[in-house]
């Protein structure tokens, strides 16, 4: 009982020390909030589809179909048409302003379509633009494909008419049928796409993905700070002073881990709280499940911090090795981008990290609308991970400097 009271007093002292340290606040809360805000506001419009890509277009067509094509492209979500000359299109610039993609519609575009002849569209691309290029080319290709389909339909119609009325002039039939077919471009296509969120999933905002990712990353930075503090106490002699007082080693270590766990929980609560109440981040359907998932993550991270303090010899090593590990874990584990977009072997590799398991569970709750029972496997893995780190850390930690 006495040792438990001492454990509590050590934990309270550590909380007080961290609370009075402005540097800790900056690392634990201010930096992650700043990064979450910057990332969310920077990427938010693109994420929500509000960011429009611009397409330079030069329509030289003498007929109507070129105009209908640019109108159809301009009407697409996320795309804005900027009119330009063929030279500007080829240079991908108008004055000082640079563009990534341009389209030139030739003079005889309409007449060739109306006569059922083949034609082509000229597209200029920036070869370094790997982000927008597939989207822009896909848009143009989609519109061209619809035109091609209609030209094919006109050709079939003309051949059928000529078959039943051989005296009819094909060109006359095509001239009558083609405008009607092209008119279809501005109307709903016969085969439309219906896009809905998958079962149980809902629309997400940027903060739904950014807050958990960066929170877990800075939770790990926080425990790295805890490891550094523990080594700092060893260097400063305060740990030695506790060792010569009637306090058991388990009370000393227990107090420190409880404090670190509380700091981690408070950090996550504040980051998620700000995410929810200030930025409208969703918390999912199971708040108790989310709290438990965060608690398990905090425990595992705390135990990992202890292991880090046990394997390094100096505070400097803890800082450098800890930073390397946290950044690798964040990159591999999905703090910066969803693991779904990385190759399969990277997804497997990512799951050696605390980050991946923690984000799997948290994202399942707040993005995929899963329940507490669905994240039990993630929690179980994290608990085992944490217990291994904890036992190894306790066994390996050196209370005294060599």
């Amino acid at each position: 009982m006495k040792q438990m009271r001492k454990l509590r007093d050590i934990a309270l002292k550590d909380l007080l020390v961290v609370g009075k340290d402005r540097g800790s606040w900056i690392l634990l809360l201010i930096t992650p909030l700043a990064i979450i805000m910057v990332a969310s506001f920077a990427l938010g419009p693109a994420f929500k589809g509000e960011l429009k890509s611009q397409l330079l277009a030069s329509n030289l067509d003498q007929g109507q179909i070129g105009r209908q094509l640019t109108d159809a492209l301009g009407g697409r979500e996320g795309l804005q048409i900027v009119e330009a000359t063929p030279e500007e299109c080829q240079a991908l610039s108008v004055g000082d302003k640079k563009y990534k993609t341009a389209l030139v519609i030739p003079e005889d575009f309409s007449s060739r379509i109306l006569t059922g002849s083949d034609t082509s569209l000229q597209v200029y691309v920036d070869p370094t633009d790997n982000v927008n290029r597939p989207f822009m080319v896909g848009m143009i290709d989609g519109a061209a494909s619809r035109l091609s389909g209609m030209v094919s339909a006109v050709r079939v119609a003309v051949s059928e008419v000529v078959k039943f009325a051989p005296e009819t002039e094909p060109v006359t039939v095509a001239a009558d049928a083609a405008p009607a077919a092209v008119q279809q471009m501005s109307q709903d296509p016969p085969v439309a796409l219906r896009i809905d969120s998958a079962s149980g999933m809902r629309e997400v905002n940027m903060f739904d993905t950014q807050v958990p990712g960066y929170s877990v990353m800075f939770l790990l930075f926080g425990v790295m700070l805890g490891a550094e503090m523990l080594l700092g106490e060893r260097d400063a002699g305060t740990l030695g002073r506790l060792l010569v007082a009637p306090v058991s080693k388990s009370a000393i270590m227990g107090g420190k881990l409880v404090a670190q766990f509380c700091i981690a929980m408070a950090q996550m609560a504040i980051l998620f709280g700000v995410g929810h109440f200030v930025f409208g981040m969703h918390l999912g359907n199971s708040i108790p499940g989310l709290i438990l998932m965060i608690a398990v993550t905090a425990f595992t991270a705390t135990a990992f911090g202890l292991l880090l303090a046990s394997v390094v010899k100096t505070r400097r090593q803890a800082t450098s090795l800890g930073t390397l590990i946290v950044i690798l874990m964040s990159a591999l584990g999905g703090s910066w981008w969803p693991l779904d977009i990385v190759p399969g072997f990277m997804q497997v590799l990512g799951h050696i990290t605390i980050t991946a398991w923690a984000l799997d569970g948290i994202n399942a709750l707040i993005i995929k609308g899963k329940n507490f029972t669905d994240i039990l496997p993630d929690m179980a893995v994290l608990l085992v991970y944490g217990c291994i780190c904890f036992i190894a850390g306790i066994k390996m930690f050196k209370f005294r400097n060599a």
């Binding site: 050590i10 010569v244 009637p246």
Partner: protein, 313 residues
């Protein structure tokens, strides 16, 4: 009556023997000083007595409790003031003291009262709510000492408590140590400053290379150099004519003569009285004096005599 009995304490780190078979006893109420250069093994001996380090062999008994078998009992009756400022810099003086007090099972009114007493003792009550990081080196040392006294230990271990402090703070610390001793606490004090152990300690043990090389009261130790003083004479040509050392030993008041190369070291009961006949003997022998120095004995000289090197080396 001895409060502390150390028997053949040994501490080895791989091939290095930091403490090599040290035995001593400390009487109750005594200030026992360990004097020696850095690396002599003083701090390691204190670390073993405080249970921070386990001896490789040997044992010590403090107030009836073994440091190897009854560590919990020992911890509760000793107070340790480490060489480092083992305080939390961002906490205030009183927050530090209260925290360490709780580690000794203290609390409530008793702890508040004791913190007040100690902050008064070290004359820092007015600064109790200031962060330790804003204190001068001397003030930190005084709080560091107070933190070791919270539970009123029977035996206090002070490891170089004046390192890096200004003379005024050093005086403060000495005053505090005398007050603690007067209150009945037995003290083990380590230092590499001979003036400190000369001033403070009732018994002085000189350590070098992990071993005790001499021990006794200040008077007993200095008498090893001769009670009255020491005369050092460097002669040319080097070497001594036959019979010179014996002739010198026969002069009035001379208690010992050592000869090494060109240097003669003469211990005398009264240097002023012994000097004229010694100079006459030298003149008769045909030697010239290159250098002559008379000094009163001190621990520095004794240390050089015992180890062949200076304390601060």
């Amino acid at each position: 009556m001895p409060l502390v009995n150390a028997e053949n304490l040994v501490k080895k780190y791989d091939k290095l023997t930091a403490v090599d078979g040290v035995s001593f006893h400390i009487d109750e109420g005594q200030i026992f000083g360990f004097l020696g250069p850095n690396g002599a093994g003083k701090s390691t001996t204190i670390s073993m007595l405080s249970t921070y380090l386990e001896p490789t062999s040997g044992d010590a008994v403090i107030d009836g409790f073994s440091i190897t078998r009854q560590t919990a009992k020992v911890k509760s009756i000793i107070g340790v003031v480490p060489q480092e400022i083992a305080l939390y810099p961002t906490l205030t003086a009183i927050q530090n003291l209260k925290f360490y007090g709780k580690m000794y099972g203290m609390g409530g009114e008793e702890l508040d009262q004791r913190c007040h007493e100690l902050l008064d003792l070290v004359e820092l009550w007015e600064r109790r709510d200031s962060r330790v990081e804003n204190f001068s080196g001397g003030m930190k040392r005084r709080i560091n000492m107070a933190a070791g006294l919270l539970h009123q230990p029977r035996f206090l271990l002070l490891d170089e408590p004046t390192v890096g402090v200004d003379p005024q703070s050093r005086e403060h610390i000495f005053d505090t140590i005398f007050k603690i001793r007067d209150a009945g606490t037995t003290i083990l004090y380590t230092s590499h400053y001979m003036e400190e152990v000369e001033l403070l300690c009732d018994y002085i043990a000189i350590m070098d290379k992990g071993k005790l090389v001499a021990g006794g009261t200040l008077k007993q130790l200095l008498s090893m150099l001769g009670e009255g003083g020491v005369i050092e004479i460097e002669v040319v040509p080097p070497g001594c004519p036959g019979g010179l050392v014996e002739n010198m030993k026969m002069q009035n008041g001379v208690t010992a003569v050592r000869h090494e190369d060109s240097q003669l070291t003469i211990s005398s009961k009264n240097s002023a009285h012994s000097l004229p006949p010694l100079l006459k003997v030298l003149e008769d022998s045909g030697c010239d004096i290159e250098r002559l120095e008379i000094y009163t004995p001190n621990l520095e000289k004794l240390f050089i005599r015992l180890t062949g090197k200076e304390l601060r080396e």
